[in-house]
């Protein structure tokens, strides 16, 4: 069983750092959570485009895959890898290749929650 225990330390630090950046923006700017999360997604996409986000994932595991920025990175990775295979049209066909899990499960679980629960205030 090969579990790299060290990655838990880096996951904690990097995952915490992403949240910290979000919190500082929330408290010091007057931006809404929607602005901050969109911004982090764009940031993840740009870091992904520069090839840095994948390195961060190797280093910090879930510390980099859990924050919403990884969604931006995954969109970019999907678009780039398919573009490499099939050119410009690959940007369109590959876009959601890696993020399908996140979006699909969010829709399905949210739908189930709406079926079985009611808001409690």
């Amino acid at each position: 069983m090969d579990v790299d225990w060290q990655i838990y330390i880096f996951a904690f630090l990097v995952g915490g750092a992403f949240a910290l950046v979000g919190q500082l923006f929330l408290d010091f700017s007057r931006l809404s959570p929607g602005h901050i999360l969109s911004g982090l997604t764009v940031l993840g996409g740009i870091l992904g485009g520069l090839g840095l986000y994948e390195k961060l994932i190797d280093f910090a595991g879930a510390g980099a895959t859990m924050p919403i920025s990884s969604f931006g990175n995954a969109l970019v990775q999907g678009a780039i890898s398919e573009a490499e295979r099939s050119g410009i049209i690959g940007v369109l066909t590959g876009m959601f290749e890696l993020t399908s899990t996140g979006i699909t499960s969010a829709i399905i679980f949210a739908f189930m929650v709406a079926v079985f629960f009611n808001p409690r205030g």
Binding site: T41, G45, A62, A79, E84, T101, S105, A114
Partner: protein, 155 residues
Amino acid sequence: MVNKKKKSLNQRQKKYQKMAKKEEPKPAYLSNALRAFFFGGLVAIIGQIFTDFYRLTFDMDTQEAGNPAVATMIFLGAMLTGLGVFDKIARFAGAGVTVPVTGFANSVASAALEYKKEGFVFGVGSKMFTLAGSVITFGVVTAFIIGLIYAIFIF
């Protein structure tokens, strides 16, 4: 006449905003930041536990195992929203739970839940992404631009 009135109003506005700024209590920057860091790290550790669990149980590589791990975290975020506790956790943990995918799940599930009263088509179906939609839109636009740059200049 109207212009003159406007000018003096602008001065009053500036003066008042200065005065209001002084009265305004500030958020608890330090404790908010510490809590966000701690909970953000904690969510990442839970995510890592699931990643390792899927990797070892189903013999996947790390990248493959990330998918079911993300799905599990989204399930947890949606479930806690349905049980009515996510908003209470978030009030305490702040960005610690809203920056990770658990927050994405919460923004989708809370909208789906809230607009259920307007019916499954107009409510749940159309309004599910009122909050999370901007994340997807800006993520896709960013990825599209970067993908184009790669397709045209790099490959």
